[in-house]
Amino acid sequence: MLAEALFFSAVLFTIGVVGVLTRRNAIIVFMCVELMLNAVNLTFVAFSQVYGAGGQVFVFFVMTVAAAEAAVGLAIIIALFRHRQTVNLQNVNLLKG
């Protein structure tokens, strides 16, 4: 079961990375990051079966950090939208050289 869980986790993480690289909508990029966090959580839970329940505690912390990150990140996206009237990341290029 551990090997299967790790396989699914790897595929989900890769889908998240590809989504971050191919999408321009800031909210969808953000959701892809959440998908990557979920994939890592699956790895933690799978390894907690062979290393003890400490892994599940880490999932707990990851979820807390993800919730805090979602609150702050979405507030940033709202501020960005107020400022530029778009969430398309191509139009947000102030730091581009």
């Binding site: 191919t22 959580n41 699956l42 003890g52 979405l74 709202i78 501020a79």
Partner: protein
């Protein structure tokens, strides 16, 4: 979980894994942000089912409550607030070069992780130990024990993190008015 599982159990695990992957693929390919968010909710529910099958029932419940419930509702709320969905916002896929880069990175990462998967894992606890622990002490005790002993400091720091996040979200989301100083 017992060492030799019934075939039915493994089959169900595969079903939920495939549901999660198909929903994730549909999620990254949808154009509408609302449809993408809905497919991500399906992925998270399938992951919750997988957590339950991996002897993490409490984490599965928290996954449904926090991720599929709270976090995704916040995402949908922001999508609604920004009124995304008109054509200029929907056409957001990057060009061919970016897709090639993303595909190459994806293949390389998948190969790396699948290669790492072949390493032998030396179990610290005997097979089925966690399931027996849950049987004796209930679902929450195996998580709560380490959380309030070994990781107590991290737990307390987390409360500061949440406070900082709440204050930060309020400050960032506030509409600036002319009466504001500075």
């Amino acid at each position: 979980m017992e060492p030799n599982l019934p075939l039915f159990y493994t089959f169900n695990f595969y079903v939920f894994g495939i549901v999660a992957i198909v929903a994730a693929l549909l999620f990254v390919t949808r154009k509408s942000p609302v449809a993408a968010a809905m497919w991500l909710v399906i992925t998270m529910f399938a992951l919750a089912a997988m957590y339950v099958m991996l002897d993490a029932q409490f984490i599965g419940a928290i996954q449904v409550l926090v991720y599929a419930g709270a976090i995704m509702v916040v995402f949908l709320f922001v999508i609604m607030l920004l009124n995304l969905g008109h054509p200029s916002e929907i056409a957001d896929a990057r060009g061919r070069a970016w897709r090639l880069v993303a595909g190459a990175v994806g293949v390389a990462m998948l190969a790396q992780i699948l290669a790492l998967r072949r390493t032998h894992v030396q179990p610290r606890i005997p097979p089925g130990y966690l399931a027996r622990q849950i049987e004796y002490t209930g679902v929450i005790a195996p998580v709560a024990g380490p959380l309030f002993n070994e990781y107590l400091l991290a737990f307390e720091v987390t409360s500061v993190l949440l406070l900082a996040a709440v204050v930060g979200a309020v400050v960032l989301g506030r509409r600036r008015t002319a009466t504001d100083a500075g």
